[in-house]
Symmetry: C2
Subunit: 206 residues, 2 copies
């Protein structure tokens, strides 16, 4: 089979939704065949964190140089520290025909949407969707204020998910992982991708 | 969770590719949660075939009346016999929020593409894709004519798959089923679908 360029898979979602837990579960599975893109950060390593495994740890000056040189696919500053995705690793891995998996904040995902519109954008959502209905129309014991807050939160999520291709509820980590893997497998079966492979073969390309 | 209208899943592909085998394997799996739409035909039952299980067997006159009344989602005539999909069963099942699975010939799939453009169209392809490359650039022992025929066949497949959303190679029945199930699961996670559910809930619909 001819190697097409890999897929860039972007997992994001509201903070606290469990992106890191889902990502760790995905990469603990033996048949996961996409590569994790390790983020770069200027924050100090925490107890037990290993450079090149958890993060690439970098001095502030070095990080800013990479920003200037356009060497980051996305970056953001949180609480005085930079976090970003080194672009060279992503491009080299995609060019080799391997899928790359990013787990990042929504701010970073928005930047990637602009630079790499064909990436696969997966929004990890809190289990609010399936629970929301019960809460909204539920037992009628909730105060009007509580219900209003829930509606506001749901509206906020709705707005955020707007740039994503898929929404995966994180009701259970295993189920969320199953859905993410299904989405990636399905994406590889998209007619446009398969068609390209046919055409490349017919042209005698390798 | 609010029940959205079910998905109409159309599996088709060139004759002889193994559509029936894949469909039977899918429906022998215990966790398959979509409904098989049984075709209607005017051909006589074969040994062991059961009305309402393998097909709905119908007289020619009755079938033609259904055509006139617009009661068939698609139909075609092969070797003097009609084959078609009763539309009422499909619509009732979809309205109840259940997915419906059709396994039909490409001619019928083309008719459905016009009537139900939002259905999920899956093309089952012979394993030629992964084998074609070896064959084309292979050992150089094949005659020019054989290679030309293979190229022509690949071009024909390419043209046929044009109206489909996904292409699944039938290299192994189990793998083909896994891909089809991944595509269906992914489709349920598409942002547009999930968004609709959010909006329905926020409007207080059931």
């Amino acid at each position: 089979m001819i190697k097409e360029r890999g897929l860039l898979i972007v997992l994001s979602g509201p903070s606290g939704v469990g992106k890191g837990t889902v990502r760790k579960e995905l990469f603990s599975q033996p048949d996961t065949n996409y590569e994790y893109s390790i983020s770069m950060t200027t924050r100090k390593p925490r107890e037990g964190e290993v450079d090149g495994v958890d993060y690439f740890f970098k001095e502030r000056e070095g990080f800013e140089k990479l920003i200037e040189e356009g060497k980051l696919l996305e970056y953001a500053e949180y609480v005085g520290n930079y976090y970003g995705t080194p672009i060279d690793y992503v491009n080299e891995t995609l060019d080799a025909g391997r899928d790359v998996f990013l787990e990042i904040e929504v701010q970073g995902a928005t930047q990637i949407r602009e630079k790499a519109p064909h990436a696969l954008f997966i929004f990890l959502a809190p289990p609010s969707l399936s629970e929301l209905q019960d809460r909204l129309i539920g037992r009628g014991t909730e105060s009007q204020e509580v219900i209003q807050n829930r509606i506001a939160a749901a509206n906020e999520e709705l707005e955020m998910m707007n740039l994503y291709d898929y929404v995966v509820e994180n009701d259970e980590v295993e189920l969320a992982c199953e859905r993410i893997n299904a989405i990636i497998l399905a994406e590889h079966c998209r007619r446009e991708r398969v068609e390209k492979q046919y055409l490349a073969m017919l042209k005698g390309e390798k």
